[in-house]
Each structure stands twice: as C-alpha cells, then as structure tokens.
Assembly symmetry: C2
Homo-oligomer: 86 residues x 2
C-alpha cells in the first residue's frame, strides 16, 4: 500500500535561527509589519510502500529520528496519509 | 488579532532536487526500502498581527510571492489559523 508522507523538521525552541531572524528583521523595511517569531524549518515529502499505516508510521519515525533530524537541535512532525503525493 | 502562519515552499515539479535525490539514494543502503520521490522543501512559520483572516491571507500571499519564494522554480502552500504558534 502506498502512503504519502510529510516530515516537518523544525529547530527546537531556544535554538538560534539566523535564517528566521534575518527574514523577521527585513520584512518591516519591505513594508510588511506585524510579523513576529519567524522560524525556518524543512519539509521533506516522499511516498512510502508499506503493508499498513502502523508499519508505515514505525518506519518513518525510525528513519526520521536516525537520518532526517539532528535530535539535539531539531524536532520533527510526521504526517502520513494513504495514497501518493500529488 | 494574532494568526499563526505556515508557508511551505516546495520545488516545482520537474525542477531537480539534489538534496531529495541524495536522501532517496541513501535510504536503501541504510535499511529503509520502499521510499520513492523524496522532495525537500522549506517550512516557514511565523505569527502575524492582522485585522482579520482575509487581510492576513492577502498580506501573507503578497510577502510569500515577493520574498519567500522564487516563483520561477518554487511553489508555495499557505496555511493560516487563528492564535499564536506553539
């Protein structure tokens, strides 16, 4: 069965985010006020062939912890839906 | 009113994604089979102060088109919910 997976990788709270800080500092000069707390993370999408949703989730959690994130400074959020990514 | 905004920036279909290709090539050697079509994008989250949801969306669409994406090679998906990001 094919599952469409999204892993969002974000920096943990308290970890400095220079990319986000630069965006936040620039926007008021460019005419956009009222933007606060910009954080830049990664969004990794893929299709996964697995027997069922439980085994798909177990595999994705394992590979996310081991290869897609640095658990010291990053958190991850996994979403899995049946069917291929568009 | 405070809105919590997520902008997902993805490479357009057909644009080469070396980061995704490297992940996809590596995973089978690391014991994870069945992963296909890996694409790596950005997830940008921030809080936005705006009068209502319609004006929040208009502001976010404008700044996303102009500053957060390169429309030649990137697509964006915007989600806005009332309340601050966690």
């Amino acid at each position: 069965m094919l599952f469409s997976v999204q892993v969002e990788v974000t920096l943990r709270q308290g970890v400095a985010d220079p990319q986000g800080a630069t965006i936040e500092r620039s926007l008021p000069h460019l005419g956009f006020d009222g933007v606060k707390g910009v954080r830049v993370g990664k969004s990794i999408r893929f299709d996964l062939e697995a027997a069922d949703e439980a085994s798909a989730r177990a595999e994705v959690e394992d590979l996310t912890q081991r290869f897609l994130t640095n658990p010291v400074i990053e958190d991850s959020t996994i979403s899995i839906v049946a069917g291929a990514n568009a």
